[in-house]
Symmetry: C2
């Protein structure tokens, strides 16, 4: 796919240079809006308006929605008021609201001026909901039916109203006060054997819905879990105000996963893609955790300083510090990453903490013993016999391997428990991933190491 | 949500104990199949068949599909042949194929015996495709239309055939030899102004489809990118053989993300959820990378050993080893995690490697300089003045901070480049995450540290 796309990109660039506009238009006409948007995002800015004007109205609007905000801004600035109005009229309300959120104030003013009054009201309504809530990602355009309609009347209503609705396949049955009573799918309507059947007799009343304040991640998870095309959104009085569709849910899941992964990697989540981020953006997202962890490693320094005597007496001990800390850190991050992912898929709850501890305890004993045995043999064969390091006595080897096994056990239990604790305290468990765990485990592994050294080597 | 669910769970458990079956049935009737499945998966095995038999046929089948394989197996073993046939008849072909793949051989035999011949043929067809291919996750049940049908005839055909199809909302127009000619949505059919319009006049011919061999991750990304309800799957001769629906795509994305996260955490990907995995399962997935990284840290040990003299001459140097390695590791994993995520979202290609290097270079210089400055002040104020460690001279401090800055720059560039290199070599970039990067950066940071110490301190 990617390669094919690059070939198209090159061909179009060439045609644009040679001003073969008619041929260009023919190619664009058979392309999908998402692909047109991706193509346009790679273009030089001054070419964008020219190429965009080749598109017919509907395709133009559909492609516009899929574009990156900076390309959208370039285009809007090049539009006449009339051109802008044509695009805005074609937008679904939730897309228009997204656009208004992304654009600078003077562009927003122009957009709202061109929107018809009802659209303007809906946009403002959506923008009033808190960021990342169901209200802020919903669309207010859905098909609503009344319980006393017949199947035939319902289908007629869909045919009359459907053009402007984001999905027509799930229709919502509401009372005159907009209270949500039930839902009926177009499949049910089409497969109904009798056109005179009343909607209230075939509608599903076992409803699953969310509130305008529900977190968008929760909404996305519900859509994914129940395999729905759309989920109704109600206000505080249980009146229907909009729907969230599955495609928005897929975008939310992608965003939230990226955020989790960024947090796990010890960064602040970013709004921009990697290539769109400047070096300074990346710096701002990365430096806080680096700084915090760097400063907190003062503790590991202190531990080493306070055992300076032991290290001087047994110089061989220093060589194994990186291995101990590294293996401890990896063991801990394995557990924390696993638990974080299970939490974000709702496979784990805080109440499972004892099961997690018990599972990590057994796993870590298995890992610790296996690692210690291999480490013992490796040190003896490679470091002692092959490299001929006579400082490494049997006792030194035993200290290293015992410390390794104990560190792995502690690291895995800490790694498993911390994300659960974060969740219970209302923090994002993803923050408790490798960088954080590593810093704790570094200190723990050194302490364990020196305590064993003191006890067994008497240093 | 989760809390509400636990309350329902407790109430149902109690009613089951008190044998209030009629009331139980009433509650189950208003529940969603996904919730029933989740509930049943938590039940004791011997209660499962009893409770399952309370469900009406269709709800029973829908709930069955959503259950975990072990619960499904318990149920199938408790079914009579007749009961099994009733469930199998209600399944969609792709769900039936999944079931056959999960169950042990003797259960599979019983399932295939109860499936009607056409279903059996379809299941076998799907199972022949490679694992993780479009063919293996598609369903063969879709609505097909002919180009010369009128809108009215098409709607009639949907009403007649639709019951057994997983989605009716996108219909595929095929030639008699099953070549895919176009597609038409139910929305287009319903909104067509004239019932006599021919399908070929309104169908979309600008088709996006995949091959049976296409990787499931690619399929899921396309569905997500284009916001389609379903994607047609064709065979080597471009004949239509099935569709993949958006809900399957959401499951695939979830699976593939979990796999990426597991690889990034230094584990082999697992098929089971955390709570379903035994300690030995977890051990098997975690020990290979731990072992590999532990053994490869022999290098860091060798570096330290070969600079033993320098460490003995300047004992203060040892105390900063964990801070240097830790900060280097964190810097590198920030970059690698960012690049890995951008690669898996198709935001980056190998051709962008120079842009990545340039961006990481500037970011890392910013981070390196900031960290070095803060570190210098911190060491002077805390380690030297507050702790009174007289071994830390200005020169030692300079060595530590210079090594820190250089390590951060190298770590970030290595972290950014390695995932791209893995991708170019056809390996999974996610393998190049923190644990791997950390091991490389550990060695690099020590080398840089000791080289600066040699040059500036003359040790």
């Amino acid at each position: 796919m990617a390669e094919r796309f690059e070939i198209v990109e090159k061909a179009l660039g060439k045609m644009l240079e040679e001003k073969k506009y008619a041929a260009l238009r023919d190619i664009l006409l058979v392309m999908n809006p998402s692909d047109i948007a991706a193509l346009f995002s790679d273009l030089e800015e001054q070419r964008l308006p020219l190429l965009f004007r080749l598109l017919p109205k509907e395709l133009a609007a559909e492609s516009f929605v899929e574009m990156e905000p900076d390309a959208q801004e370039v285009l809007i600035r090049s539009f006449s008021d009339n051109e802008l109005k044509e695009i805005v009229d074609e937008l679904y309300v939730d897309d228009a609201a997204d656009l208004v959120e992304e654009m600078p104030a003077n562009v927003v003013k122009r957009i709202l001026k061109q929107a018809d009054p009802e659209m303007r009201r809906s946009i403002n309504q959506i923008l009033r909901y808190p960021e990342y809530s169901a209200g802020s990602i919903m669309t207010t355009e859905y098909v609503s039916l009344r319980p006393k309609m017949t199947v035939e009347e319902a289908i007629l209503r869909i045919r009359r109203q459907g053009v402007d609705k984001e999905t027509i396949y799930t229709c919502y049955v509401t009372a005159p006060d907009r209270k949500l009573l039930g839902l009926v799918s177009v499949k049910d309507l089409l497969l109904a054997t009798d056109d005179e059947t009343l909607i209230e007799d075939i509608m599903l009343t076992n409803l699953i819905y969310v509130n305008t304040q529900t977190d968008q991640e929760e909404v996305a998870k519900m859509l994914s879990k129940y395999n729905f095309l759309a989920l109704p959104v109600v206000d505080g009085e249980e009146r229907m105000v909009g729907i969230v569709t599955f495609d928005d849910a897929m975008d939310v899941i992608e965003e939230e996963t990226t955020e989790d992964i960024e947090l796990m990697g010890g960064m602040l989540p970013s709004e921009k893609t990697y290539l769109k981020s400047t070096a300074f953006d990346l710096f701002k997202n990365r430096i806080p955790w680096l700084m915090l962890l760097m400063v907190s490693s003062t503790f590991t320094g202190l531990i080493i300083t306070s055992f300076e005597g032991a290290l001087a007496a047994q110089v061989a001990l220093t060589a194994f510090i990186p291995m101990l800390m590294g293996t401890g850190g990896n063991s801990g991050s394995q557990s924390s990453v696993t638990v974080i992912r299970a939490l974000s898929l709702d496979e784990l709850r805080f109440a499972d903490i004892w099961r997690v501890i018990w599972k990590e305890l057994r796993t870590s004993v298995l890992c610790g013993v296996a690692l210690a045995l291999v480490c013992f043999v490796k040190i003896w064969l490679i470091d002692r016999m092959l490299m001929g390091n006579e400082d490494i006595t049997l006792m030194v080897n035993a200290v290293v391997c015992l410390a390794l096994a104990v560190t792995v056990v502690i690291a895995k239990i800490v790694g498993g428990v911390l994300p659960l604790a974060a969740k219970a305290l209302g923090a994002d468990p993803a923050v408790m991933a490798s960088p954080f765990i590593t810093t704790i485990v570094d200190a723990v592994s050194l302490l364990v190491y020196f305590l064993f050294a003191k006890a067994l080597l008497g240093v």
